[in-house]
């Protein structure tokens, strides 16, 4: 299963997920408390510098992951240009960019398994109270397994449709797609039960 963690080694890879997330919380809070443009320019530049530490590949991958924000940035720019408050707009835009970039840094340097371990640790008190968290762990594994299978089935259905029609199937495949998936689910449920259940 593909994940968003980076294959490029960074010095902070080995830090514990909990530590990185706590630092992220503090950093994001500080970002939201400050309204100074100078502060936000420095914060963003520092953030880019951190991305540059593991090397060029890490930096370009990191920056590319911010590009989906362009639409939000355009909206901020248009609004603040019209209301002649461009400095405020720049603060809002930079703050959003830095906050997302810092959070992505945590995502890029933390493996999914470490995050799941952290969730497990957070759930410890619930287990002490007698609540079973194992179904949750099995559910995660099932989603990771189902997603690529569903995508494959979806493309097979689309291909089958295209072989018969010049039009694109769009929403029409959703029903057969869901039916296929549900039939599969029944088999998986039986298999789980046959192996001792949850």
């Amino acid at each position: 299963m593909i994940s968003l963690s980076s294959p490029v080694k960074a010095p902070w890879d080995r830090w514990r997920a909990g530590v990185k997330l706590s630092m992220l919380c503090v950093a994001t809070t500080v970002l939201f408390l400050s309204t100074s443009l100078v502060f936000h320019v420095i914060a963003f530049a520092t953030c880019v510098a951190i991305y540059a530490i593991p090397g060029r590949v890490f930096l370009t991958t990191g920056l590319r992951r911010l590009t989906f924000l362009w639409m939000f940035l355009a909206v901020i720019f248009v609004w603040h240009a019209l209301t002649e408050t461009l400095i405020e707009g720049a603060v809002i835009a930079l703050r959003m960019l830095t906050a997302v970039a810092l959070a992505n840094l945590v995502t890029m340097s933390t493996k999914i398994a470490e995050m799941i371990a952290l969730i497990n640790w957070v759930l410890t008190p619930l287990r002490r109270l007698g609540l079973r968290t194992r179904p949750f762990e099995i559910a995660i594994a099932l989603v990771v397994r189902f997603t690529p299978v569903l995508v494959q089935k979806g493309s097979a259905l689309t291909d089958a449709w295209r072989a018969r029609s010049p039009k694109s199937p769009r929403w029409r495949i959703i029903l057969p797609f869901t039916v296929l998936a549900i039939d599969d689910a029944d088999h998986v449920a039986e298999a789980l039960r046959a192996r001792g259940g949850i």
Partner: protein, 182 residues
Amino acid sequence: MTKERELVLIALFAALIAALGLIPKINLGSGVPITAQGLGVMLCGTVLGSKRGFLAVALFVVLTLIGLPLLSGGRGGIGLLATPSVGYIIGFPFAAFATGFFVEKWSGNLTLGAFIGAVLGGIIVLSIPGIIGMAAILEKSLVVATGYALPFFPGDLVKAILAGLITNALYKARPAAVLSRA
């Protein structure tokens, strides 16, 4: 209904939302993309019902936030909480809950019930945290943020109609899978 089947259906619908994200998306207004994923959230409610629908969508959200690229356009990670979409992401499970709750209470025509439920949960309930999130991150008033949300409503309405039709057709094809009617 065995515990295993319940768990597998919850995981399956979480994966279904992810798979629906691969249908091409369109950006509108304030940059929040319109995708079939919204339809996936509605279907979780109309098909699985309130509690299981909530769990399926919550599972999807948790996996996305810990770094699986499941959101449309291959997005994922904790950084989503710092974008203007934050309210929608957090609101997704509650939208599914509200949708499912309505469908469970409705005893009339399933297509209509699922449509109304999807409008109620997937549009109205979802828009409340969605608009608050946009207002907070973009530092705009709630009125302006509501303006940003408006261009999505026609698309959402189409999705709610589809949710109604698909739920009813699914009920005919696999009645045992439509847990909101079980």
